[in-house]
Symmetry: C2
Subunit: 154 residues, 2 copies
DNA sequence: AGTCATATTGCAACGGGTTGCAATTGAACT
DNA sequence: AGTTCAATTGCAACCCGTTGCAATATGACT
Protein backbone atom coordinates (compact mmCIF):
# COMPACT_ATOMS: atom_id res chain seq x y z
CA UNK A 1 0.00 0.00 0.00
CA UNK A 2 2.85 2.34 0.74
CA UNK A 3 4.43 1.93 -2.65
CA UNK A 4 2.19 1.81 -5.63
CA UNK A 5 2.95 0.50 -9.04
CA UNK A 6 4.23 3.75 -10.46
CA UNK A 7 7.18 3.58 -8.13
CA UNK A 8 8.49 0.22 -9.19
CA UNK A 9 12.20 0.05 -9.54
CA UNK A 10 12.49 3.36 -7.82
CA UNK A 11 15.95 2.84 -6.40
CA UNK A 12 16.81 4.43 -9.67
CA UNK A 13 13.99 6.87 -9.51
CA UNK A 14 15.14 8.43 -6.30
CA UNK A 15 18.66 9.03 -7.40
CA UNK A 16 17.13 10.60 -10.46
CA UNK A 17 14.63 13.08 -9.16
CA UNK A 18 13.10 13.79 -12.50
CA UNK A 19 10.73 10.98 -11.60
CA UNK A 20 9.55 12.91 -8.59
CA UNK A 21 9.22 16.00 -10.65
CA UNK A 22 6.96 14.18 -13.07
CA UNK A 23 4.88 12.78 -10.26
CA UNK A 24 4.43 16.25 -8.88
CA UNK A 25 3.55 17.71 -12.25
CA UNK A 26 1.05 14.96 -12.83
CA UNK A 27 -0.78 16.22 -9.77
CA UNK A 28 -0.56 19.87 -10.62
CA UNK A 29 2.18 20.36 -8.03
CA UNK A 30 5.38 22.25 -8.64
CA UNK A 31 9.06 21.70 -8.82
CA UNK A 32 10.98 24.27 -6.82
CA UNK A 33 14.59 24.78 -5.74
CA UNK A 34 13.59 24.11 -2.13
CA UNK A 35 12.04 20.79 -3.07
CA UNK A 36 15.03 19.86 -5.13
CA UNK A 37 17.32 20.57 -2.20
CA UNK A 38 15.31 18.31 0.05
CA UNK A 39 15.29 15.56 -2.53
CA UNK A 40 19.05 15.82 -2.88
CA UNK A 41 19.33 15.41 0.85
CA UNK A 42 16.95 12.46 0.87
CA UNK A 43 18.76 10.80 -2.00
CA UNK A 44 21.94 10.74 0.03
CA UNK A 45 20.21 9.42 3.11
CA UNK A 46 19.73 5.90 4.10
CA UNK A 47 18.04 4.51 7.12
CA UNK A 48 16.11 6.82 9.39
CA UNK A 49 16.35 10.57 9.75
CA UNK A 50 14.50 12.97 11.97
CA UNK A 51 12.76 16.00 10.57
CA UNK A 52 15.16 18.30 12.36
CA UNK A 53 18.13 16.52 10.79
CA UNK A 54 16.64 16.99 7.35
CA UNK A 55 16.13 20.68 8.01
CA UNK A 56 19.72 20.99 9.06
CA UNK A 57 21.02 19.11 6.03
CA UNK A 58 18.94 21.33 3.77
CA UNK A 59 20.41 24.34 5.47
CA UNK A 60 23.83 23.06 4.47
CA UNK A 61 22.71 23.33 0.86
CA UNK A 62 20.79 26.56 1.33
CA UNK A 63 21.31 28.40 4.61
CA UNK A 64 18.06 30.25 4.04
CA UNK A 65 16.06 27.05 4.39
CA UNK A 66 12.83 27.50 6.32
CA UNK A 67 11.65 24.60 8.49
CA UNK A 68 8.00 24.88 7.55
CA UNK A 69 8.89 24.53 3.91
CA UNK A 70 10.80 21.35 4.60
CA UNK A 71 8.02 19.83 6.66
CA UNK A 72 5.41 20.78 4.10
CA UNK A 73 7.47 19.23 1.35
CA UNK A 74 7.86 16.08 3.41
CA UNK A 75 4.08 15.91 3.64
CA UNK A 76 3.81 16.14 -0.10
CA UNK A 77 6.48 13.51 -0.60
CA UNK A 78 4.69 11.22 1.76
CA UNK A 79 1.47 11.68 -0.16
CA UNK A 80 3.09 10.68 -3.40
CA UNK A 81 4.76 7.74 -1.68
CA UNK A 82 8.37 8.83 -1.66
CA UNK A 83 8.96 8.88 2.05
CA UNK A 84 7.19 7.50 5.05
CA UNK A 85 7.36 8.58 8.64
CA UNK A 86 6.81 7.13 12.06
CA UNK A 87 7.34 8.41 15.56
CA UNK A 88 10.21 7.45 17.80
CA UNK A 89 9.52 6.68 21.45
CA UNK A 90 9.94 10.32 22.34
CA UNK A 91 7.34 11.32 19.77
CA UNK A 92 9.76 12.86 17.30
CA UNK A 93 9.20 12.19 13.65
CA UNK A 94 11.37 9.72 11.84
CA UNK A 95 11.42 9.72 8.10
CA UNK A 96 12.80 7.32 5.69
CA UNK A 97 13.10 7.14 2.04
CA UNK A 98 11.27 4.69 -0.12
CA UNK A 99 11.45 2.38 -1.85
CA UNK A 100 12.77 0.21 0.79
CA UNK A 101 11.32 -2.98 2.10
CA UNK A 102 8.32 -1.99 4.13
CA UNK A 103 8.96 -2.51 7.82
CA UNK A 104 7.96 -1.49 11.29
CA UNK A 105 10.19 -0.31 14.11
CA UNK A 106 11.22 -1.66 17.45
CA UNK A 107 12.77 0.62 20.04
CA UNK A 108 14.24 -0.16 23.43
CA UNK A 109 12.99 2.03 26.23
CA UNK A 110 16.25 1.71 28.08
CA UNK A 111 19.11 1.86 25.56
CA UNK A 112 17.17 3.60 22.78
CA UNK A 113 18.62 1.26 20.24
CA UNK A 114 16.22 0.35 17.45
CA UNK A 115 15.57 -2.41 14.98
CA UNK A 116 13.42 -3.03 11.97
CA UNK A 117 10.50 -5.42 11.95
CA UNK A 118 10.19 -7.12 8.57
CA UNK A 119 6.76 -7.65 7.08
CA UNK A 120 6.65 -11.35 7.80
CA UNK A 121 7.33 -10.87 11.48
CA UNK A 122 4.34 -8.56 11.75
CA UNK A 123 2.18 -10.59 9.41
CA UNK A 124 0.17 -12.32 12.09
CA UNK A 125 -0.82 -9.08 13.75
CA UNK A 126 -1.57 -7.40 10.46
CA UNK A 127 -3.77 -10.17 9.17
CA UNK A 128 -5.46 -10.62 12.54
CA UNK A 129 -6.52 -6.96 12.62
CA UNK A 130 -7.49 -7.16 8.99
CA UNK A 131 -9.66 -10.16 9.56
CA UNK A 132 -11.23 -9.26 12.89
CA UNK A 133 -11.84 -5.57 12.24
CA UNK A 134 -11.22 -4.86 8.60
CA UNK A 135 -8.44 -2.56 9.75
CA UNK A 136 -5.49 -2.11 7.41
CA UNK A 137 -2.29 -1.59 9.34
CA UNK A 138 0.22 0.97 8.13
CA UNK A 139 3.29 -1.03 8.99
CA UNK A 140 5.80 1.65 8.13
CA UNK A 141 4.28 3.98 10.69
CA UNK A 142 4.42 1.33 13.36
CA UNK A 143 6.85 1.84 16.19
CA UNK A 144 6.91 -0.54 19.11
CA UNK A 145 8.43 0.39 22.43
CA UNK A 146 9.72 -2.17 24.87
CA UNK A 147 12.77 -3.67 26.47
CA UNK A 148 15.44 -5.38 24.40
CA UNK A 149 17.08 -8.66 25.34
CA UNK A 150 20.34 -7.05 26.38
CA UNK A 151 18.72 -4.45 28.63
CA UNK A 152 16.40 -6.93 30.18
CA UNK A 153 19.29 -9.01 31.45
CA UNK A 154 20.97 -6.24 33.34
CA UNK B 1 -14.36 14.66 43.02
CA UNK B 2 -11.60 12.31 43.71
CA UNK B 3 -13.11 10.57 46.65
CA UNK B 4 -16.69 9.82 46.06
CA UNK B 5 -18.64 6.68 46.14
CA UNK B 6 -18.73 4.03 43.50
CA UNK B 7 -15.53 2.17 43.27
CA UNK B 8 -15.24 -0.33 40.54
CA UNK B 9 -11.98 -2.00 39.84
CA UNK B 10 -9.98 0.85 38.44
CA UNK B 11 -11.65 3.34 40.68
CA UNK B 12 -10.54 1.98 43.99
CA UNK B 13 -6.89 2.77 44.16
CA UNK B 14 -7.16 5.98 42.24
CA UNK B 15 -10.17 7.43 43.93
CA UNK B 16 -8.25 7.27 47.15
CA UNK B 17 -5.07 9.13 46.43
CA UNK B 18 -3.58 8.35 49.78
CA UNK B 19 -2.37 5.22 48.02
CA UNK B 20 -0.38 7.34 45.61
CA UNK B 21 0.87 9.46 48.43
CA UNK B 22 2.18 6.38 50.20
CA UNK B 23 3.81 5.11 47.06
CA UNK B 24 5.56 8.42 46.63
CA UNK B 25 6.66 8.55 50.25
CA UNK B 26 8.00 5.04 50.00
CA UNK B 27 10.35 6.31 47.34
CA UNK B 28 11.37 9.45 49.15
CA UNK B 29 9.17 11.54 46.87
CA UNK B 30 6.83 14.24 48.06
CA UNK B 31 3.17 15.01 48.20
CA UNK B 32 2.40 18.52 47.01
CA UNK B 33 -0.71 20.54 46.23
CA UNK B 34 0.22 20.50 42.53
CA UNK B 35 0.42 16.73 42.50
CA UNK B 36 -2.82 16.45 44.34
CA UNK B 37 -4.53 18.67 41.79
CA UNK B 38 -3.30 16.50 38.95
CA UNK B 39 -4.45 13.35 40.70
CA UNK B 40 -7.87 14.85 41.23
CA UNK B 41 -8.02 15.54 37.53
CA UNK B 42 -6.85 12.06 36.64
CA UNK B 43 -9.32 10.47 39.00
CA UNK B 44 -12.18 12.10 37.17
CA UNK B 45 -10.82 11.08 33.80
CA UNK B 46 -11.57 7.97 31.92
CA UNK B 47 -10.29 6.89 28.60
CA UNK B 48 -7.50 8.87 26.97
CA UNK B 49 -6.38 12.40 27.62
CA UNK B 50 -3.68 14.47 26.03
CA UNK B 51 -1.06 16.21 28.11
CA UNK B 52 -2.39 19.60 27.07
CA UNK B 53 -5.88 18.66 28.23
CA UNK B 54 -4.55 17.67 31.61
CA UNK B 55 -2.71 20.96 31.94
CA UNK B 56 -5.89 22.80 31.13
CA UNK B 57 -7.96 20.81 33.60
CA UNK B 58 -5.38 21.46 36.29
CA UNK B 59 -5.58 25.13 35.51
CA UNK B 60 -9.28 24.94 36.24
CA UNK B 61 -8.37 23.85 39.75
CA UNK B 62 -5.42 26.19 40.09
CA UNK B 63 -5.02 28.88 37.43
CA UNK B 64 -1.38 29.22 38.36
CA UNK B 65 -0.63 25.71 37.10
CA UNK B 66 2.67 25.45 35.27
CA UNK B 67 2.89 22.98 32.36
CA UNK B 68 6.34 21.68 33.20
CA UNK B 69 5.14 20.76 36.68
CA UNK B 70 2.28 18.77 35.22
CA UNK B 71 4.45 16.94 32.74
CA UNK B 72 7.06 16.19 35.37
CA UNK B 73 4.42 14.84 37.68
CA UNK B 74 3.08 12.68 34.88
CA UNK B 75 6.57 11.23 34.48
CA UNK B 76 6.67 10.38 38.15
CA UNK B 77 3.22 8.85 38.04
CA UNK B 78 4.23 6.75 35.10
CA UNK B 79 7.29 5.53 36.96
CA UNK B 80 5.21 4.39 39.88
CA UNK B 81 2.75 2.80 37.49
CA UNK B 82 -0.24 5.06 37.89
CA UNK B 83 -0.55 6.25 34.35
CA UNK B 84 0.81 5.15 31.02
CA UNK B 85 1.24 7.09 27.86
CA UNK B 86 1.43 6.48 24.16
CA UNK B 87 1.58 8.72 21.14
CA UNK B 88 -1.34 9.46 18.85
CA UNK B 89 -0.80 9.47 15.11
CA UNK B 90 0.13 13.14 15.22
CA UNK B 91 2.80 12.45 17.81
CA UNK B 92 0.97 14.04 20.72
CA UNK B 93 1.05 12.30 24.03
CA UNK B 94 -1.95 10.39 25.22
CA UNK B 95 -2.20 9.43 28.83
CA UNK B 96 -4.46 7.13 30.57
CA UNK B 97 -5.01 6.14 34.07
CA UNK B 98 -4.22 2.76 35.48
CA UNK B 99 -5.16 0.27 36.63
CA UNK B 100 -7.09 -0.58 33.60
CA UNK B 101 -6.83 -3.60 31.38
CA UNK B 102 -3.58 -3.26 29.51
CA UNK B 103 -4.19 -2.54 25.86
CA UNK B 104 -2.71 -1.09 22.72
CA UNK B 105 -4.24 1.51 20.42
CA UNK B 106 -5.52 1.53 16.89
CA UNK B 107 -6.04 4.80 15.07
CA UNK B 108 -7.51 5.50 11.66
CA UNK B 109 -5.44 7.75 9.48
CA UNK B 110 -8.51 9.09 7.77
CA UNK B 111 -11.25 9.59 10.36
CA UNK B 112 -8.97 9.74 13.40
CA UNK B 113 -11.26 7.49 15.31
CA UNK B 114 -9.48 5.11 17.65
CA UNK B 115 -9.96 1.74 19.29
CA UNK B 116 -8.33 -0.35 21.92
CA UNK B 117 -6.45 -3.54 21.18
CA UNK B 118 -6.91 -6.05 23.98
CA UNK B 119 -3.98 -8.14 25.13
CA UNK B 120 -5.12 -11.31 23.45
CA UNK B 121 -5.40 -9.68 20.06
CA UNK B 122 -1.79 -8.59 20.27
CA UNK B 123 -0.61 -11.80 21.88
CA UNK B 124 0.78 -13.33 18.74
CA UNK B 125 2.95 -10.34 17.96
CA UNK B 126 4.08 -9.97 21.54
CA UNK B 127 5.09 -13.57 21.94
CA UNK B 128 6.66 -13.70 18.49
CA UNK B 129 8.96 -10.76 19.32
CA UNK B 130 9.63 -12.22 22.71
CA UNK B 131 10.63 -15.55 21.26
CA UNK B 132 12.56 -14.43 18.23
CA UNK B 133 14.40 -11.48 19.78
CA UNK B 134 13.90 -11.58 23.51
CA UNK B 135 12.18 -8.23 23.13
CA UNK B 136 9.46 -7.40 25.64
CA UNK B 137 6.74 -5.28 24.08
CA UNK B 138 5.23 -2.41 26.04
CA UNK B 139 1.70 -2.91 24.82
CA UNK B 140 0.25 0.17 26.48
CA UNK B 141 2.63 2.39 24.56
CA UNK B 142 1.69 0.76 21.28
CA UNK B 143 -0.27 2.80 18.80
CA UNK B 144 -1.03 1.44 15.37
CA UNK B 145 -1.96 3.68 12.49
CA UNK B 146 -3.93 2.47 9.52
CA UNK B 147 -7.24 2.60 7.76
CA UNK B 148 -10.43 1.49 9.43
CA UNK B 149 -13.07 -0.62 7.74
CA UNK B 150 -15.50 2.25 7.30
CA UNK B 151 -12.97 4.59 5.74
CA UNK B 152 -11.60 1.93 3.47
CA UNK B 153 -14.96 1.43 1.86
CA UNK B 154 -15.46 5.01 0.85
C1' DA C 1 8.09 24.07 67.11
C1' DG C 2 12.52 24.49 64.69
C1' DT C 3 16.25 22.76 61.64
C1' DC C 4 17.84 20.85 57.54
C1' DA C 5 18.55 18.14 53.26
C1' DT C 6 16.72 17.65 49.07
C1' DA C 7 12.58 17.04 46.23
C1' DT C 8 9.82 20.07 43.80
C1' DT C 9 8.28 24.24 41.83
C1' DG C 10 8.28 28.43 38.92
C1' DC C 11 10.26 30.50 35.36
C1' DA C 12 12.34 31.43 31.12
C1' DA C 13 14.41 29.75 27.20
C1' DC C 14 14.54 26.31 24.07
C1' DG C 15 13.38 22.29 20.49
C1' DG C 16 10.48 20.18 17.19
C1' DG C 17 6.77 20.84 14.45
C1' DT C 18 2.36 23.40 12.60
C1' DT C 19 -0.55 27.11 10.83
C1' DG C 20 -2.47 31.44 8.67
C1' DC C 21 -1.58 34.79 5.59
C1' DA C 22 0.57 38.01 2.34
C1' DA C 23 4.12 37.97 -1.17
C1' DT C 24 6.45 35.30 -4.59
C1' DT C 25 7.04 32.22 -8.35
C1' DG C 26 6.32 28.00 -11.37
C1' DA C 27 4.38 26.68 -15.49
C1' DA C 28 0.41 26.53 -18.63
C1' DC C 29 -1.38 29.19 -22.21
C1' DT C 30 -1.20 32.78 -25.52
C1' DA D 1 8.29 36.92 -24.13
C1' DG D 2 4.19 38.24 -21.46
C1' DT D 3 -0.02 37.13 -18.85
C1' DT D 4 -2.26 34.78 -15.47
C1' DC D 5 -3.59 31.84 -11.65
C1' DA D 6 -2.81 28.78 -8.24
C1' DA D 7 0.93 26.39 -5.79
C1' DT D 8 4.53 27.52 -2.86
C1' DT D 9 7.42 30.17 0.05
C1' DG D 10 8.78 33.13 3.94
C1' DC D 11 7.55 34.79 7.99
C1' DA D 12 5.79 35.21 12.48
C1' DA D 13 3.10 33.45 15.84
C1' DC D 14 1.70 29.57 17.90
C1' DC D 15 1.28 24.65 20.17
C1' DC D 16 3.08 20.78 22.80
C1' DG D 17 6.51 19.39 25.52
C1' DT D 18 11.43 19.62 27.76
C1' DT D 19 15.34 21.47 30.32
C1' DG D 20 18.47 24.14 33.49
C1' DC D 21 18.61 26.66 37.36
C1' DA D 22 17.57 29.45 41.41
C1' DA D 23 13.99 29.78 44.89
C1' DT D 24 10.70 27.31 47.69
C1' DA D 25 8.55 23.95 50.55
C1' DT D 26 8.01 18.95 52.14
C1' DG D 27 8.70 15.96 55.74
C1' DA D 28 12.21 13.52 58.58
C1' DC D 29 14.63 14.28 62.57
C1' DT D 30 15.51 16.75 66.86
Amino acid sequence: MAVDGSLDGAGVALADWSTVRDLLHARGLRWTPQRRALLDVLASTDGHVTGAELVERCRAIDPATIPSTVYRTLDVLEEIGFVSHSHAADGREQFHVLPVVEHGHLECRRCHDSWEIPVDEAAELVTALERSRGFTVDLSHLSILGLCAACRET
